[in-house]
Symmetry: C2
Amino acid sequence: MSVIYDKVALIGLGLIASSMHWAMKRGGVAGSVTGYARSSETRETARKIGLCDAVFDTLEEVVEDADLIVLATPVGAMGAVMKQIAAHLKPGATVIDVGSVKQTVIAEVQPLIPAGVHFVPCHPMAGTEHSGPEAGFATLFDNRWCLIVPPKGSDADAVARQEQYWQALGAQTEIMEAEHHDMVCAVVSHIPHLIAYTMVGVADDLRRVSDQEVIKFSAAGFRDFTRIAASDPTMWRDVFLTNKDATIEMLGRFTEELFALQRAIRTGDGDQLHAYFTHTRAIRRGILEAGQDTDKPDFGRVQVER
Amino acid sequence: MSVIYDKVALIGLGLIASSMHWAMKRGGVAGSVTGYARSSETRETARKIGLCDAVFDTLEEVVEDADLIVLATPVGAMGAVMKQIAAHLKPGATVIDVGSVKQTVIAEVQPLIPAGVHFVPCHPMAGTEHSGPEAGFATLFDNRWCLIVPPKGSDADAVARQEQYWQALGAQTEIMEAEHHDMVCAVVSHIPHLIAYTMVGVADDLRRVSDQEVIKFSAAGFRDFTRIAASDPTMWRDVFLTNKDATIEMLGRFTEELFALQRAIRTGDGDQLHAYFTHTRAIRRGILEAGQDTDKPDFGRVQVER
C-alpha cells in the first residue's frame, strides 16, 4: 500500500476517527496523522493510547498543512468547526465529514469551504455500540460500505481519491446523491435505532415487569435491540434532528405496517401473519449472501461439537 | 452427571428439541431419547444425523414407556398432540411443553392430562434464527434461563425434577406464574420480534429504496433486526395468536412511546432525545453484567490487534 494523503487531520476522536487512525496505520495510507478533540480528557486518553502521531489542543494547530481534514464530530457541531478552521486550510486540501446525515451537513459546511479547498461528504456505514477514543479498531471498515456523497460540481479528482482512500481503509465505496442517501439511511439505520431506543425505554418503564427480569431474560430477542440502543446519545440526537423529514416519513410507514400486523393479531388472522413472517426471512438470507453478517448461531457464542 | 429420566420422548424435532437432545447426550441426562416429527422429511433428516436413539413414525410409538414427554411443536399444535398421546402415557410420567406462551398452552393441554401423569409447562428462553432438526446444538441452553410455570396443584417432586433437568442441560431455572410469564415474554421477546418483522417488511416494501440497498447497507443497524425477523414463521404466528392480550397491551405502550419520540424529533427537542438515549444505555450495561450477551465489538467479528 502507498500513502494517499501525506498529512491527515482528525477532528473529533471517537469510534469512527480512532478506527480510521488504526486503519490508516494498518494500510500505510497516511504519512502522518494529527488529532484534535474538544474535551481535554479525550485528548489525554488519545495521547495515552498512542492515537495519532500528534494530538493538538487547538483546531488551528491540528489542520495546519493538512492534506485531508476529517470532520468526525457529531453532525450538529460540524458547521461550527468548519467556521473555525476555514481560514487555516491549505489550498488544494480536501475536507471530508463522516456524518450519518448528508443534506444538512452539506447545507451547513459547503458554504464555508474556501476557494481551492475540496469538500467530499462521506458516510462510512460501520460502527459498534461503543464510543470514544478507545473504541476504535483497525478492521471496523473491512467489507463495510462507505457512501460518498459529492455535491454538484465537486472536483472529480478529489472524489476519486476519496474512493481510493476508503478502499485502502478496507471499505467498499458507492457514490450516492444526498437526498437518496438520507432516505436510505433512515431505513437501514436511523429508524432501526429509534425503534430500538423506544423498545428499551418501554421495557424499562413498565411497572409490571421488573428491570431485573428484562435484563435476565433478554436473550429471547430484546438483547438484539439493546446493543444498538446503547449507541452514542449525542450522535443520535443530532442524526434525528438533522434527518427529520426522512425519519418522520419512514416512521409513518413503520407505524402503518405495525398497526396492520396488530390488527391481524387482534382478529386472529394467522395466514396473514405467517405470510408476512415467511417473506421477511428472504431478506435475512440476502444479507448473509451479501456478506454483511455471519450466520453463526447466536452471534458467535462458542458452539461445542456434537 | 447422572440420568434424570430413563426414557425421554421428543415430539417435534426443531431447534429446541434437537438442542435438548444434544444437551441431554452431553450431560448424560437421559437413558435413551426417542423422537417423532409430523413430517417424514424431518424424521428422515433426524435419522440421517443421528438425532435421537430411535425416531418413530407415530405418536403412540414415541411415547411408549416414556418417563418424560416433551411437547416441542408450535404451541398451536400442542392440544391436538396431547389428545392423541393421552391414552398412551405411562402412570407417573411427566409431560412438559417448551412453548413461548403459557396461559393458552395450560388451558389447552392441562385438561387432557390423564390422572397419575404430571404436567410441568416450561419455557427455555434460548434460540437462534435457525429452525429444523439440523439447527440444534448442545450449548444452546448454557447460561440461559428456563422459566418453569407449574399450574396450581402441580406435583412438587415433578417440578423439582424439571428444575434439576434443565440445570443439567445448562440452563438456570426460575419458577413463574403463567400470567406474569406471558407479560414478561411479550416485553422481552414477542414485541421485539414483531417490531423486527415489521421493520424488515417496511424496508422491503419501499419503492424509493431498493432491496439491494437495504441488504448492502444493513450493517448500519438494520441487520440486528433481520436476525430475529428470520425466526420460524409458524412458531411466531402461534405465539402472537396465543399471547394476544399481552402483545396488544405492550404494542399500545410501544406506539405511545414511539409517538412521543417522534414528536420530540418533529419539534426539535434535542434535550428530550438525548436524555432518553442516555437512559437506555444503562439497560444495555445491565445485560452485559448479567452475562446475557458479549461485549465484543460487532458480535465477535475478528478484532485485529493494534
